[in-house]
């Protein structure tokens, strides 16, 4: 019996290829796309971090009214000592010399390291794969210099050699003993190649460049920990009043939030979008089944008249529904696996925290599968509950017009829903497309074409003084400039469109007032390499050396902010106060350069020639942002990379190049998030519209076949082709119109949630709303046109024959 049902089911699907195709397409897209995006969202937002009892991990930081921030090492020592709520508490920082040039492996290379306190690994609940973690002694000032390697570095530079334990490597020329290797599975918020002990000192100045993470004792809640830490904050204020700002306290929050706060909002929007897509897909499946139900009304009535019981017919329909669903499910699964990989590959760097690994989430897949299957089966059974209402005789004689119109209204409502949902998706996508195109049209203030950039970290004793560093840069630039294909070259400590580096600046008129501005140290040719225009005065020359009068350059935003009315060339400034840096004459003004991103205004900026930077200031700068070479080329920039390596090695063979990129890549990377958002929502909107078009096409095709007789009558009464076309289109366009109206209302409400991702366009931008609406109406029109044209071919002779 089942075999017979199955055979019959296959035959039915094969006999209606367009229904089968559309149903499978809908199921595949619905299941595949929904699962893929949900897997990503789930991995980032919902799944616990991959540590044992991860829910007990908390982030602890300086709490200000504006939010929670990193903390300082000395503060951490105090917190750890005073608190009882934590099983373990650790501090880590990417700054302060853990990164740099590593020698002792296969070749000199740049490694990014992390300074961590002794309990760091206990907090995360990991033990090394080889060797041990740090001891208390190693984590105190003056303790032994030791390191733990990441599995990746161990494989990359040491060939996974087990004898590495106890060996010495050179990190920035300092001998360091390897005491452990982390397991391969250990991932952590910053992508660290190696770990060294922090050696924090209580009472030292507390630079807020470290992060603190704690593991709550079993049974202790976040609220309890928060209450305790709030008390500790006040104790610290009493002990070190000068290190606590007004209104500062200590904040605690789940560690997971650290990873999600940047992406959460967008992921929720995408999740909403994918929910919409799933709804559209389900509506479509329902629609298809209803259409088929209508077509099969007669067949089922005949079967019932021949004595088939309800159960028998339900089984037949179920077999068909499940068969379809299974095929669609398998195809959807394949799409989900492939789509998840695609999505992860598409994710911009840094959008997805390194700690999470994304794979297809089988729970999600199962859920989506069930949702679409249930829809399909539920609506697939429509002919049965309809057959119960309509008595067999009338169904046999005539098509059941009464049931038909109820069904017609249901189908209409489904199409209205689909149109409305896809309009919301389309408008969302439209706004992101406008944002993106506006963004890439913003002038960055420099010419990113044909510029190669790479970082060379000058660390260790050989580069302790400014003059040593300046000499290295001079020698290296002299060599690079004569390489064929190189037009000019320069060095700067932070590239445009690549985050920021602030320093306080003071003016002679108010020497105690610190103004935080973007701070850059450069070699003279930087402005020529980047083609940054000089607006007033001059740029630096090689004559601006340590012996010459101290000078500085500023940008237009700086002038606007601090000296909008005065003659800027007459002004002076000092970086960090006169105790650390002399008063400098401002000798020129350059154009604004976008620093954080294209959608933010260019910040005020100060430039100083490298030879005039004090040793102390240079050390600070180098800790946070080692110098970048910028090389303007007349050839493809990347083609010169090997030559660059050779020239740097010729000056100092122990230095490694890192962060190699063209300026163009950096500019493109700066809009990667927007591009990703746009592509993804665009993809959803496209799929949504496609499904909605299929939906409206299906409904109209069915409506036309249902109205064949009416059309015949109208033709007989004098209607011409155009009248018939209008009749069908009016029906389709009425549905579309209602859907569009509902969709527009919903979009006005929902796009507001996207405000934060938009730039240069408001969330209710009329042009976008209008263009997108027209676009959708045109699509719907095309979808209606096919069945409408078919309607004009109705032959009144045939339509009226069956009297």
């Amino acid at each position: 019996m089942i075999g017979q049902d199955l055979r019959y089911g296959v035959r039915m699907l094969a006999k209606h290829p367009s229904f089968t195709l559309v149903a499978l397409l809908t199921l595949t897209l619905g299941i595949g796309a929904t699962t893929a995006i949900f897997s990503v969202v789930n991995a980032v937002l919902l799944r616990p971090l991959p540590y044992p009892e991860a829910e007990r991990l908390v982030y602890i930081g300086q709490q200000f009214r504006s939010g929670i921030a990193g903390s300082g090492e000395p503060k951490f020592l105090f917190w750890r000592e005073q608190s009882q709520s934590f099983e373990a508490m650790a501090c880590y920082s990417n700054f302060g010399g853990a990164s740099g040039n590593l020698a002792g492996g296969s070749e000199a290379e740049f490694v990014s390291g992390c300074r961590v306190t002794e309990e760091f690994f206990r907090v995360f609940g990991v033990t090394p794969a080889l060797g041990r973690t740090f001891t208390k002694e190693e984590d105190t000032p003056g303790g032994a210099t030791v390191a733990i390697l990441s599995d990746k570095l161990w494989h990359r530079s040491f060939g996974a050699n087990k004898d590495i334990l106890g060996q010495t490597v050179l990190l920035n020329d300092q001998p360091v003993t390897v005491v452990g290797v982390m397991p391969a599975g250990f991932r952590f918020s910053s992508n660290s190649d190696l770990f060294i002990p922090m050696k924090a000192r209580l009472g030292a100045h507390s630079n807020p460049n470290a992060e603190v993470v704690g593991r709550l004792k079993a049974g202790v809640t976040i609220e309890q920990a928060q209450a305790e830490l709030t008390g500790i904050a006040e104790k610290y204020r009493t002990a070190f009043p000068q290190q606590m700002q007004v209104g500062e306290t200590i904040g605690v929050k789940p560690y997971q939030e650290m990873f999600t706060q940047g992406v959460a909002r967008m992921l929720w929007v995408l999740l909403g979008a994918v929910g919409f897509l799933l709804l559209i897909a389900c509506a479509n499946v329902a629609n298809l089944q209803l259409a088929r139900a209508a077509a099969r009304q007669r067949e089922i009535a005949v079967r019932m008249a021949l004595g088939a019981g309800n159960g028998r017919i339900v089984r037949q329909l179920l077999t068909e529904g499940i068969l379809l669903a299974l095929i669609g499910g398998v195809l959807g699964m394949l799409l989900a696996v492939w789509g998840t990989e695609m999505l992860v590959a598409l994710l911009p760097d840094g959008m997805l925290p390194d700690v999470v690994a994304v794979g297809v989430d089988w729970h999600v897949l199962l859920f989506v599968l069930c949702a679409s299957l249930a829809t399909g089966i539920l609506f697939g059974l429509a002919p049965v509950w309809q057959a119960k209402q309509v008595d067999v005789n009338t169904a046999l004689k005539e098509n059941a017009t009464k049931g038909g119109s109820v069904r017609g209204r249901l189908r209409g409502a489904l199409v209205v829903t689909e149109i409305a949902l896809s309009l919301v998706l389309l408008i969302g996508a439209g706004l992101l497309i406008r944002t993106f195109s506006y963004l890439v049209s913003v002038a960055p203030g420099f010419d990113p074409n044909n510029v190669l950039t790479f970082q060379v970290a000058l660390r260790g004793e050989r580069y302790d003084t400014t003059q040593e560093a300046a000499a290295f840069y001079r020698d290296a630039l002299d060599r690079i400039r004569v390489v064929p294909g190189v037009e000019n070259a320069a060095v700067i400590n932070r590239l445009p469109l690549d985050w920021q580096f602030n320093m306080p600046v003071v003016f002679p008129s108010s020497p105690d007032q610190f103004n935080s501005v973007q701070f850059r140290i450069v070699t003279p040719d930087y402005f020529r390499v980047m083609k940054i225009p000089v607006q007033q005065g001059r740029t630096f020359t090689s004559a601006d050396d340590v012996a010459a009068p101290p000078v500085a350059l500023v940008n237009e935003a700086f002038v606007q902010r601090y000296f909008p009315k005065q003659d800027i060339i007459a002004q002076q400034l000092s970086v960090g106060g006169v105790k650390r840096d002399p008063m400098r004459q401002i000798v020129g003004v350059v154009g604004n350069i976008k620093q954080q991103s294209l959608d933010r205004p260019a910040p005020p900026m100060v430039f100083i020639p490298i030879p005039q930077v004090s040793d102390q200031l240079l050390a600070t700068v180098n800790t946070f942002t080692p110098g970048y070479f910028t090389v303007r080329t007349t050839v493809e920039p990347m083609s010169l990379l090997a030559t660059m390596k050779k020239e740097i090695a010729a000056v100092d063979s122990r230095l490694a190049l890192s962060r190699v990129a063209t300026m163009k890549d950096i500019a493109s990377r700066s809009v990667a998030t927007q591009r990703f958002n746009m592509s993804l929502l665009g993809l959803f909107a496209g799929l949504g519209v496609l499904l909605a078009a299929v939906g409206i096409y299906g409904v109209m095709s069915y409506a036309v076949s249902e109205r064949t007789q009416e059309i015949g009558i109208r033709l007989a009464l004098g209607a011409n082709t155009r009248d018939v076309l209008r009749l069908v289109l009016r029906q389709g366009m009425t549905l579309t119109g209602i859907g569009v109206a509902v969709g527009l209302l919903a979009a006005f409400g929902l796009t507001r949630l996207m405000q934060g991702f938009l730039f240069g366009v408001s969330a209710s931008n009329p042009l976008t709303f209008i263009v997108v609406t027209i676009f959708l109406i045109l699509i719907a029109l095309v979808a209606c046109l096919v069945p409408a044209r078919r309607a004009t071919n109705v032959d009144p002779l045939v339509a009226l024959r069956y009297e």
């Binding site: 017009t401 009558i713 109208r714 033709l715 009464l717 004098g718 209607a719 009226l800 009297e803």
Partner: protein
């Protein structure tokens, strides 16, 4: 009024051609009331559709007054039809989702009538057929006789010179059929030419001429 010469109509089944009408000749004068009779499958409906200019797939000559319909393009045929011909169907073919009044308006909406003119014609017709009190009802709520009365009213409303009726009383019982036939007589007296197809001798009795069709040919006429 109508002149048919050597009208042929065939339906194709695959490669086979099945002739339904073979060389029909027929003349009908203005003001006549004609009944077409014949056994089932004889081609009566087919002939009526040709007369009604719905069908375009026939050969032969068909003069409508002095116009050669066989030479007209489909568009001009449609215009000729809309100007001159009204139809009554066996199963009424009223539009269920429209009210009586709206049903009457349908033919007018496909012809060039202004809004005011349309409303007036509908009002007059409702009055004439004594349907005014039913104008807001839906056809399915009415008896078969009333429905067909609306069918006739609808056929009349655009003031055609010719009414074609294919078994107009086939679904009605005799009392209702009588009413429809009397309405036809009335319309005929007022100058409308009427051609009906029927199997009923009684109905045929209302007309003044009977055309018999057998096997695709006019085989005899009774006056």
């Amino acid at each position: 009024m109508l002149t048919l010469r050597k009208i042929e109509r065939a339906f194709e089944f695959g490669r086979e051609k099945n002739y339904v009408l073979r060389g029909v000749n027929l003349d009908i004068e203005e003001g006549e009331f004609v009944t077409i009779m014949g056994p089932s499958g004889a081609g009566k409906s087919t002939l009526l559709h040709i007369l009604g200019l719905h069908d375009n797939a026939w050969v032969g000559e068909y003069y409508f007054f002095d116009q050669a319909a066989h030479k007209l393009k489909p568009k001009d045929r449609a215009e000729l039809r809309n100007k001159n011909i009204g139809f009554v169907f066996q199963s009424y073919h009223l539009l269920d989702q429209l009210t009586v009044q709206e049903n009457l308006e349908v033919p007018l909406s496909y012809r060039n009538y202004g809004r005011a003119e349309r409303e007036q014609l509908v009002r007059e017709t409702l009055d004439r057929f004594q349907l005014t009190d039913k104008k807001h009802l839906y056809p399915s709520k009415l008896s078969g006789g009333l429905q067909q009365l609306i069918g006739v009213a609808r056929a009349m409303i655009a003031r055609p010179k010719l009414i074609l009726a294919d078994e107009p009383t086939g679904n009605l019982h005799s009392a209702q059929a009588k009413e429809i036939m009397e309405m036809f007589c009335k319309l005929n007296e007022q100058g409308t030419t009427i051609i009906q197809v029927t199997h009923s001798e009684i109905n045929a009795g209302y007309s003044r001429r009977i055309v018999n069709i057998h096997d695709g040919n006019v085989v005899g006429e009774d006056h």
